[in-house]
Symmetry: C2
DNA sequence: CGTTGGCTTGAGTCAGATCAATAGACGTGG
DNA sequence: CCACGTCTATTGATCTGACTCAAGCCAACG
């Protein structure tokens, strides 16, 4: 799956210089110097679908997602689970400056991570301030996402939640590399691949599987979307979907 | 309300050196040098209860809360509102490295902020890496809080939400300066001051005013808490309340 | 006093949960 | 190839926790 460089070091499957996700990740803003340092403390790790990457309460991980989808979830003692974030290719996964992770990270699809040594990474943050800034940028972006989701979980109806989910997913799949353009490029008829199961959607949206399924059907019946199967959706009416998502503001 | 220094500069009501909240805030970890620089770009600002401090979409603010309570909220076009965080004395309020705020900040009580000039603050972050690290620490703490709240909003019942709110508030009021001790110091009989209205609790917990009121009554009737009035609560059974909050884990 | 704003309480409704059945996709082994 | 079990998704029937609508209480205040 991963793009191998002919010159790659055995434990570093590709040089960071020509990494497929570099421009979209943390590494995009680094100097060659800093990148080299980062490269030397990184190694690729693979995870099978469903495999746990870090458990809540265990030491935090620092890694870029190279390929695949990762979710982070928090759970209650009786088994109820809430997915708190989804990570796509290029996202930085890591609770910098926290000793232990506050949530469990799990691979949803086959995942390749570019993982960094924790201590070495923190030391590198001291040497290269730009790295700290990048990590801060990511943290702020995640915070903004978390807050948007709090609004969704606290105030939106089931149908608004499902519509919002589809729109966000579309924005994420449309931007593909440049997250600042986004939204505009969601054109009608766009095919959308839902990378998670209905159960995971439910855990992400604070609903049950049945309600997710029913609302998906309702969106189909009202002509906003069409689907080939449960995972392959086509957006028929983007404006309508945006309206169904509840907020008419920016993306 | 604020502790005035005899040596204070007209626009800087107290020297940062002897600021009442220094040890609990961002400033606690700074060198005298960095603190001096920060001091020179700060000034105190006052807000009346209900007054808006920043509006969603406007340029972000950088400030420490000196006294009072601030809430941040996000809203939908039809008026539904979700409070996404509460700031107490010593908390750092600011979306570093983001141009515009993603939420509206509002004073709940009379508030004094120690506000920093935005550009100067960002420049200072370049000069003093420790400042960036402190901001990152705050961002990670806020992210963890946001995630815990996502679990609450997505999975917990009304009664669990109210109980969790009371426990978190108690932890926050008990630690008073050192957030790492916390929780342990919540002793039975502890008096708790609820600094926000029922309507704000509802907006924070993703419930209606009526449900908040009913669940508060239910907690009283089951003997977990007692109250003098709507804002003055006494914790009678801390373990019971913890159980009612749904998660038996740390704090 | 009358008004106003915040809080509580009651009665009825409804959106989403729960319980239950079915269908399709996919493997596995006889 | 078909019978079988498993896993995921959909759909139906019913239930219930929280919302809605409405009334009443109390303290603050002009």
């Amino acid at each position: 799956m991963s793009i191998q460089s002919a010159f790659s070091h055995p434990h570093r499957p590709m040089t960071c210089q020509r990494c497929a996700i570099r421009s979209r990740s943390l590494c995009g803003s680094l100097s060659d110097d800093a990148l080299g340092a980062l490269s030397s403390i990184s190694r690729h790790r693979h995870f099978a679908p469903g495999q746990i990457i870090v458990t809540e309460g265990e030491p935090a991980i620092f890694a870029n997602v190279v390929t695949g989808i990762v979710v982070e979830k928090k759970s209650l003692s009786d088994g109820r689970e809430q997915i708190v974030s989804m990570f796509f290719s290029g996202d930085f996964l890591g609770d910098a400056r926290r000793v232990n992770s506050d949530s469990t990270a799990q691979a949803v699809s086959p995942v390749t991570l570019c993982a960094f040594d924790r201590n070495a990474f923190e030391q590198l943050m001291d040497v290269y301030p730009v790295l700290t800034q990048s990590v801060l940028d990511y943290a702020m972006a995640r915070l903004e996402n978390a807050r948007e989701w709090m609004l969704l979980l606290g105030q939106k109806s089931a149908e608004e939640r499902v519509a919002t989910f589809l729109m966000r997913l579309a924005a994420r799949q449309a931007d593909a590399g440049c997250r600042h353009v986004a939204a505009q490029s969601i054109e009608p008829g766009m095919a959308l691949d839902i990378p998670i199961s209905r159960a995971q959607m439910a855990a992400y949206l604070g609903l049950t599987i049945e309600t997710v399924s029913r609302r998906m059907t309702a969106l189909r019946d009202s002509g906003l979307v069409a689907f080939k199967d449960a995972r392959a959706v086509r957006l028929l009416n983007v404006d309508g979907l945006k309206a169904a998502a509840g907020d008419n503001d920016r993306l």
